[in-house]
């Protein structure tokens, strides 16, 4: 009896230890977010935590700053196009990768994730010279190419993982019942991999929305993305307007998570 109670006590201690570890991990992950959100509501003149009083004036200032709002709009537009284009291409690449076998498949996988392996700055410099060569230097289209390239591996990995969960017997059954390849894809495969597709799109969107180095070198004349506009802002004005912008960005990311939840359910997506 005493041995059982000692074992039970030991398990409780371990459980408590793990709970504390999880809490510490959450605090570590969430504190920067809570700090920046808190600082955005300060009535003081500087980014500080805890905030002095409560005010929405920095949100008002953010919305009245053309440079920041234009940056937000450009980031949203580029990220939306990136998510759509990247997800489409990644789906095709994932299907191609699945059709391959042996060493070829391994090399293909590696190739598809190369943008993750090469430092972003080197990719940016290489792209910069390439884009000027083809006449797209400092254009929106050039920036868009850069974002699609950087976001692609996230969508590819997510969709590939989802495709692997689909039993090949379903595809064979669909074919044997007379469905064309397109019908099989549209009516059988796509509904099953939709959680992975949605997650890939969300990852691509968020990745594009946050890209800094690529945007710094490739941004179009007269245009700025939000991370660049925020960096420029903080370089010359260290005010809580930046915290308000960051809070709105966090809200946008949360909207993405809610969207996944509504479309496919978070549990299916992960």
């Amino acid at each position: 009896m005493s041995a059982a109670s000692a074992t039970f006590g030991g398990q409780r201690t371990i459980g408590l230890g793990f709970s504390l570890l999880i809490i510490a991990l959450y605090v570590f992950l969430l504190m920067p977010l809570l700090t920046i959100v808190g600082a955005s509501f300060t009535s003081g003149m500087m980014i500080e935590f805890p905030p002095q009083g409560f005010s929405l004036k920095w949100y008002h200032e953010f919305l009245s700053r053309k440079d920041l709002v234009d940056g937000l709009l450009m980031s949203l537009r580029v990220a939306a196009i990136t998510a759509i284009v990247t997800t489409t291409i990644a789906m095709m690449a994932a299907l191609a990768g699945q059709a391959m076998a042996g060493r070829m498949a391994g090399w293909f996988q590696l190739g598809m994730t190369l943008p993750l392996l090469v430092p972003e700055l080197l990719t940016a410099v290489g792209l910069l010279f390439f884009l000027y060569k083809i006449g797209l230097g400092k254009t929106v289209l050039g920036l868009q190419f850069g974002h699609i390239l950087m976001a692609f591996p996230y969508a590819y990995v997510s969709i590939t993982a989802a495709l692997r969960q689909v039993p090949s017997s379903l595809e064979e059954a669909s074919s044997s019942m007379g469905a064309s390849s397109w019908q099989t894809f549209r009516l059988v495969i796509l509904p099953l991999v939709m959680p992975g597709v949605a997650m890939g799109a969300i990852f691509a969107f968020i990745n594009s929305f946050d890209l800094y180095t690529i945007s710094l070198l490739l941004k179009p004349i007269g245009g700025n993305t939000l991370p660049l506009a925020l960096f420029d802002f903080l370089t010359y004005e260290f005010k809580p307007t930046a915290a308000a912008a960051a809070t709105l960005s966090i809200l946008l990311s949360l909207c993405g998570v809610v969207l996944v939840q509504r479309l496919v359910g978070l549990q299916r997506a992960f």
Binding site: I47, Y132, G137, T235, F238
Partner: protein, 343 residues
């Protein structure tokens, strides 16, 4: 409304169509482009200065916002034959990097008439750039935290300021200028990188800050009491009631030096020259002095009394310590490396 997959795909398709529709809109207009720093610089320049130039040339204008490093990377990628815009404003440190590579038009009083009225130090090497924005860098201090103000740069090494200093990172041109000055003052010359870094090591630990506006909050909060700072930041703090004052270092002020150049091979070169002339005009130079506390480089500018109390006169800025950025760039790799490893 229930959000279904079909709704989502339809919305996505709509967004794509809108985005695709929006893309050509960027290309339809052909505004005259110049560059500027972000934040308040962009806002003020876009709202208060550029409309005048747009009216003068009868063409829309736009700004390319960024920093020296990204502009230089773009110019190098584009090459001298294909510059992305006609006129460029750069810290002289960056101008020096490419001024010998055939990018810039040589500026003369014939193609930039206001050049005739400039103070001599504003005419940069080879006349490939003219200084249009000169921001004095002085020593700021908290009057409530410092009993005896510093008199010059050398006082930063005085025991009474230990633990109270804030300084620029070596990546900022102010950090480079201070290192070159320290090499000359304490060592064998401006290229005496070892002595300069060793002297700054004596001051460590100290906050190293990338930009002036990041030193300001530290001084406002009293985390630092003495720092090199441009006068615009000092005024901004005084306007907010922070007990802060400044001294002009007895060895001489340093200056952030922003030059304006014109790309020789851009189709809008003539407008680029017109823009540089516009920036150097007494009207715009006075506007910059009044709004940004930037020292006019045009000798004909008369500073109003409320601005004259700041060290912005032609006589004062002419006496400022200046550097040859060709020489500075030549040793910057060694300086950065030694600084990063030592401090």
């Amino acid at each position: 409304m229930k959000l279904s997959r079909r709704n989502f795909l339809q919305a996505g398709a709509g967004a794509s169509a809108l985005a695709a529709f929006g893309l050509p809109a960027f290309a339809q207009q052909s505004p005259f482009i110049v560059n500027m720093f972000g934040g308040r610089w962009e806002n003020d320049w876009r709202q208060q200065v550029m409309p005048k130039f747009a009216e003068e040339i009868g063409r829309p204008v736009d700004l390319d916002i960024g920093l020296g490093t990204s502009w230089i990377a773009n110019f190098r990628a584009a090459g001298p034959q294909n510059p992305p815009f006609a006129s460029v404003m750069l810290n002289e440190r960056y101008t020096a990097m490419i001024r010998n590579e055939g990018y810039f038009e040589v500026l003369t009083p014939e193609n930039v008439p206001n050049m005739a009225d400039l103070i001599e130090p504003a005419k940069l090497k080879g006349h490939t750039g003219l200084t249009g924005m000169l921001a004095p860098l002085i020593l700021a201090y908290r009057t409530d935290l410092v009993d005896e103000p510093p008199r010059g740069w050398a006082d930063l090494w005085h025991e009474r300021f230990r633990g109270q200093l804030g300084l620029y990172k070596i990546t900022n041109s102010a950090g480079v200028m201070m290192a070159l000055w320290a090499g000359e003052h304490f060592g064998k010359g401006r290229d005496d990188v070892e002595t300069a870094v060793a002297k700054f090591k004596e001051l460590a630990p100290f906050p190293q800050i990338g930009y002036s506006s990041q030193l300001t909050p530290l001084m406002m909060q009293g985390q630092i009491a003495v720092a090199p700072l441009d006068v615009g930041e000092v005024k901004a703090m005084q306007d907010q009631g922070v007990p802060v004052d400044y001294v002009i270092p007895e060895e001489g002020m340093l200056v952030f030096d922003h030059s304006f150049s014109v790309f020789a091979n851009h189709p809008d070169k003539a407008l680029g020259l017109e823009y540089v002339n516009f920036v150097l005009s007494p009207e715009i130079q006075l506007w910059m002095a009044e709004n940004w506390l930037i020292a006019p480089t045009n000798k004909t500018v008369q500073l109003p009394p409320e601005v004259a109390k700041w060290p912005l006169s032609a006589e004062q800025v002419t006496k400022a310590i200046r550097f040859d950025w060709d020489d500075a760039n030549a040793i910057s790799g060694k300086l950065n490396d030694l600084w990063e490893r030592t401090i």
